[in-house]
Amino acid sequence: MLGSFDFDVIRRALPYLFYEGMTFTLTLTALAALGGLVFGTALALMRLSGLKLLGRIAGLYVDFMRSLPLVLVIFWFYFLVPYIGQWLTGASRPISVGAFASSLITFIMFEAAYFSEIMRAGIQSISRGQPAAASALGLTYAQTMRYVVLPQAFRNMLPVLITQTIVLFQDTSLVYVLSITDFLGAASKVAQRDGRLVEMYLFAAVVYFTISCIASFGVRRLQARIAIIR
């Protein structure tokens, strides 16, 4: 069976697959993870703030986002945002938002919901004595969070955060619904053009598998290095 495989198709497509496809995939993953973490931490702080209204808003947001399939959100967002932009700015025509910007915002919003739950668990894992000790030294609430609670929560949660990012790395392939050339999109285009579906999709699977595997292995190494000694 392997005899009919055309490995040269893959070789010829490599520059396109990696320079265009993988660059896009990795950029989107990194930016979405970063934005999701910042926004997610803010949501977690809102939920734990003790202010009922803020907590309720954040809770609703998280539940809402987690109740929708990601691919649907990507799709809806891409088609809705131009109209929302038009409505907000009062422009005469729908605002054009690039596919990249649209997908990035979607992923940040979506990942924020997941990251916020991870950070919430992380913050709650810190014993109440820690913020009490920080307050007793005169640190304000914001300083206590910034210098005492969040660094510990972040370290405790880093393995889970990175694991979630690996999931995100795989999920970015869903941007194919917007016909964006991410890694899978690029592989798919070559596959259709050259009629080499089996080779290209097999190769894409191997690449996703390899990168995710190496990253998972890296998580375990990192965990051992940066864990707080207790």
């Binding site: 000790a133 007793a136 030294l137 005492v148 510990q152 707080i228």
Partner: protein, 243 residues
């Protein structure tokens, strides 16, 4: 220095933890608070620097009302050192950084000045060579001494101790008490929740006995150990001194 007057605290209308607590700690005075567990002594000391809110009464430190919403609480707390039962060192920071964090972020001291101050205090509690270690690498007694040094780094006008030796192995208690005795002899104003009656005998000016959220006895040390007026204090003393 510390004025506590008619403080009431309850978690629900039926669950009152402090009832009409009134006492004071004068400048340079060492006051020991004792009593059975659940008597509200830890709660009372946490009310002093507003780590716990209370519903009625007033507490003031150096003339500043703790329960006034206009009071800058972080600033007030930075002037009162507190030592906790479970040390509460910051596990992600080295010992020296534990001592520097609040000096720099709250008092605005330059890093090298904070380090100098921190090293001086570590030397004082006998832990200078551990400055670059992390809290978990130290024993309980050493961690508690670091915690005392961390509080002293803020140049506090008074120190609060919430059962500082209760979580320690017996052989480590004395190294912590020695530091506290030195501090008391230097004239630090101290409010100490503890069961260490030896410490109370040595340095306390007054002893407060609490039971079920009330201050049952507030007496000079010699009166307290000589002949407590209340039955409950007598029973308590006979129980913890008989061993």
């Amino acid at each position: 220095m510390i004025e506590i007057s008619h403080v009431d605290k309850w978690y629900s209308p039926t669950f009152q933890v402090l009832t009409d607590c009134t006492t004071s700690v004068a400048k340079g005075e060492v006051v020991v608070v004792c009593g059975p567990s659940g008597s509200g002594k830890s709660t009372l000391i946490k009310c002093v620097n507003a780590l716990e809110p209370f519903q009625k009464g007033d507490i003031s430190i150096d003339g500043i009302k703790v329960n006034d919403p206009k009071t800058d609480l972080p600033k007030l707390r930075s002037r009162v050192g507190m030592v906790f039962q479970h040390f509460e060192l910051f596990p992600h920071l080295k010992i020296i950084d534990n001592l520097c964090l609040a000096q720099e972020k709250v008092l605005g001291r330059a890093h090298d000045k904070a380090v100098t101050k921190g090293m001086q205090l570590l030397e004082r509690v006998g832990l200078k060579e551990h400055a670059q270690k992390f809290p978990a690498q130290l024993s309980g007694g050493q961690q508690q001494r670091v915690a005392i040094a961390r509080a002293l780094a803020m140049d506090p006008i008074a120190m609060l101790f919430d059962e500082p030796t209760s979580a320690l192995d017996p052989e480590m208690i004395s190294e912590v008490l020695d530091v506290m005795v030195d501090l008391a002899r230097e004239g630090m104003t101290m409010m100490v929740v503890t069961h260490e009656m030896g410490f109370a005998r040595k340095v306390a000016n007054r002893v407060i006995f609490m039971d079920r959220g009330e201050i049952v006895e507030d007496a000079a040390k010699d009166d307290f150990f000589g002949k407590p007026r209340s039955d409950r204090a007598q029973k308590f003393l006979s129980k913890i001194l008989s061993h």
